[in-house]
Symmetry: C2
Subunit: 264 residues, 2 copies
């Protein structure tokens, strides 16, 4: 408590480092190192402001960073309280295949397995909330990084015959861009579901791997602004080539969250 006050007084108002940033780091350290314990409250905003000799708005800016980090939660009329220890809450970021590969410095490409106009079967009809046998554009792709097969993807969108199918768009593995270019409807909401699955024999051949190995399955449903489903896709990522990584904690360098990375 008293200890914290000492540290608060060390804030350097004429530093190039912003005051709100210095303050946020002081408070973050105090919490993460256990000097401010879960359930305790921070000093009042006005008190911090007067201790540090800064404006209350600057204090609030610092505290809002701690709120974003879920270290602290303010309660109107009462105070700002340190929340429970948060190393057991993790966030995994997940990017589209092309973005992810570019991020990793690898060259993404896609190979068309086939494109068909099909009549919606039970599963597709349910996912897209359309009648059975509605004409549906079905696209199957193998996704590669530096020419090496990494993932397999199936995408389904309702077919509009007036719109030609452009191959370059089909090969782009982003369902949102495909949907918006074919349907001229904007996907505004998206739901993604991450499952585990086992690679079957057909996909194993396409991915040049053994059947019955485990894999990530990412399902994506896109909705327009009226929450009508307009596209559905599933992607199978080789389990031997992917993992999702996430870092949490004090050190700034490791705060950056990871995404899919090589698994070796």
């Amino acid at each position: 408590m008293d200890d914290l006050e000492k540290r608060l007084r060390k804030i350097n108002k004429s530093s190039v480092i912003p005051v709100y940033y210095q303050l946020a780091r002081i408070l973050e350290r105090s919490i993460r190192l256990g000097q401010l314990k879960s359930g305790e409250s921070l000093p009042a905003e006005n008190k911090i402001a007067s201790i540090c000799g800064i404006s209350r708005m600057t204090v609030r800016r610092a505290i809002s960073e701690l709120v974003d980090l879920r270290l602290v939660s303010p309660q109107k009329g009462k105070g700002t309280f340190v929340t429970g220890y948060e190393l057991d809450h993790t966030v995994f970021e997940f990017y589209d295949f092309f973005k992810e590969m570019r991020r990793r410095g690898k060259k993404p490409s896609s190979e068309l397995v086939n494109v068909k106009i099909i009549k919606a079967g039970e599963k597709i009809a349910e996912k897209l909330d359309i009648p059975l046998n509605t004409k549906t554009l079905a696209i199957k792709l193998v996704l590669k990084a530096d020419g090496y097969p990494m993932a397999y993807e199936e995408k389904y969108i309702v077919y509009e015959k007036q719109n030609p199918i452009i191959e370059s768009e089909i090969r782009d593995p982003s369902l949102p861009s495909l949907v918006s270019s074919h349907l001229h409807k904007l996907p505004v909401n998206s739901c993604r579901i991450l499952h585990v699955t086992i690679i079957d024999e057909q996909v194993a051949i396409l991915l040049n791997t053994k059947p019955r190995t485990p894999a990530f399955l990412v399902e994506q449903i896109l909705y327009d602004k009226d929450n009508v489903p307009i596209g559905w896709g599933k992607s199978i990522y080789r389990g031997d080539k992917y993992k999702l990584v996430s870092y949490d904690g004090l050190n700034l360098l490791s705060r950056k969250e990871g995404g899919i990375t090589d698994y070796e």
Copy 2:
């Protein structure tokens, strides 16, 4: 452009809904519905302020929400620009087993498979960065929800003989709390890795499932404030009972990110 101005003028300063919130939603809609396109810039902060008749600080508060949503990225001296279409960036939240089950309204429990002091083998020695054969506390658990086995967990921490092992702490499936109670060292950083795997025969028996079915494998490494590893654990979650769900997009109700959910 002109259209946006019209909407900006509609802001109601005497509403119970905060001005910054109204403004953030107007800008968010304009971006998500494609009226403000990727690469375009928002009106300058001062301009928005004068159009709406509000303070620049309030405008900044609104824009900072869009930054958090990754819809927009401000550039010093130039302007604030709409970023690329972001339905292809997903965040999966992941909670500890106990927290997750309570969130779902199920009663979590754990069953000890065994607790041993072992000599670190190659794998553990490498993960914890300790010499081979160092005494290590090894804990194996089955995690249950409403009595039904859902996950299997192994945890390893360096053994300190002066600290007794308390069963209630062992059964708590949170590695951070286990480490801090046994070692009296605070875990300050955490690294989690999400893999896919296949359940082997021994685990299949414990989880009352068939062997060779797919599962999530979550690895966690904990570090103290000097970035020395102080605990390692792996958890295997039944692939038929888990999925990670995430919603993105315009609608407020669906903005809330999902976690692990039942898979039926």
